[in-house]
């Protein structure tokens, strides 16, 4: 086995004696395009609501909870799906998030939150991780749709107007500071 590996390793660093330079260059380029396309397609396939709810933990818990909320059921038919809030849009942050998500694959394989009870027991930790993420990026995923500059405060209720002009506009708070538990149920808030 070691010898076999050593042979291939040496072959890798020797000039090609059989294939033409053109074949290797163009072939390498084409293979690169195909690989990149496949990689991105697969990546995007994991960024869909359909993919999220193939897992019963998502389908039976959080997906059920979002359905009566304004982000799922509303008068105008605009719907925020899982990745709209939980996956960053730009590439660098998306890849960073995907790397973190490898822990979720671990959880999936080892059934960390496989039952409703396990999920509820771990819910606070999971929610707090998501809140910390949104706090750190200044609620970027909220702001992808809810842009402060596009908000007409005069169309908001008195309370909303007060809070938004006093705390959001001045940057003292970010969306997630107040709007927790709007798309999913809250965890046990009394428990530390």
């Amino acid at each position: 086995m070691r010898n076999l590996l050593r042979r291939y390793w040496r072959a890798l660093w020797r000039p090609s004696a059989y294939y033409s330079l053109g074949f290797l260059t163009i072939g390498g380029f084409v293979a690169g395009v195909v690989f990149w396309g496949a990689f991105n397609t697969a990546l995007e396939a994991t960024n869909t609501e359909k993919f999220c709810i193939t897992c019963h933990v998502m389908r039976d818990n959080v997906y059920q909870e979002i359905q009566p909320t304004i982000h799922f059921t509303n008068r105008s038919g605009v719907r925020a799906k899982c990745p709209d809030c939980h996956v960053p849009k730009d590439w660098t942050h998306k890849i960073a998030r995907k790397m973190q998500a490898s822990k979720e694959v671990w959880g999936y394989i080892f059934r960390t939150i496989h039952t409703r009870e396990k999920f509820l027991a771990k819910r606070k930790e999971l929610a707090e991780r998501e809140w910390a993420r949104m706090k750190a990026n200044d609620s970027l995923e909220c702001r992808n749709c809810h842009d402060l500059d596009s908000m007409d405060f005069t169309r908001q209720s008195q309370r909303a107007r007060n809070e938004h002009s006093r705390e959001l506009q001045t940057g003292q708070k970010t969306c997630i500071d107040c709007h927790k538990g709007i798309a999913h149920r809250l965890p046990d808030m009394a428990r530390q």
Binding site: P68, I70, S157, G181, I182, L186, P187, D188
Partner: protein
């Protein structure tokens, strides 16, 4: 006599119908009234009597009140009042049934919407002859308006 009774029965059957069901026959399902949004103007309403739980002057759609969290207390808790300028819950809510004051909301007062409810701008389906005690005491009460 039997005839009279039958006549009375028929007359009452034609004259009355359940205001909540509407005029739908018993073997059919009535058409429910259209849903309306809850009042959201943040203006306190008059209490109809001194002990009436104040009504909620804002929307409470999807507010979570269960053993995990209480959305109302996010603003109406004693400790949150300064930040939010919401009316803090009254001292009675800290008493248990023996009148002992607790450090936090009494479990029997935890489910806000058992008593406090949102208001909707709709025509009441059932008439109401309730009169405020002030009106009764002062004798200024007008006869209840016909609806």
């Amino acid at each position: 006599m039997k005839f009279l009774l039958a006549l009375l029965f028929c007359a009452s059957a034609f004259a009355q119908h359940d205001p909540l069901r509407g005029p739908a026959p018993v073997d059919e399902v009535g058409r429910p009234a259209p849903l309306v949004n809850a009042e959201n103007n943040d203006r306190k309403r008059t209490r109809s009597y001194a002990m009436q739980p104040p009504t909620i002057p804002h929307k409470t759609d999807n507010y979570q009140v269960d053993k995990y969290a209480n959305k109302c207390l996010d603003c109406h808790a004693r400790t949150r009042a300064a930040d939010t300028q919401a009316t803090p819950i009254s001292i009675t809510h800290y008493q248990d049934r023996d009148g002992t004051f607790l450090a936090d909301v009494s479990p029997r007062r935890y489910f806000c919407e058992q008593c406090h409810v949102v208001q909707m701008e709709t025509k009441p389906p059932v008439g109401n002859r309730f009169r405020d005690v002030d009106q009764l005491v002062r004798g200024q009460a007008k006869p209840p308006a016909k609806k």
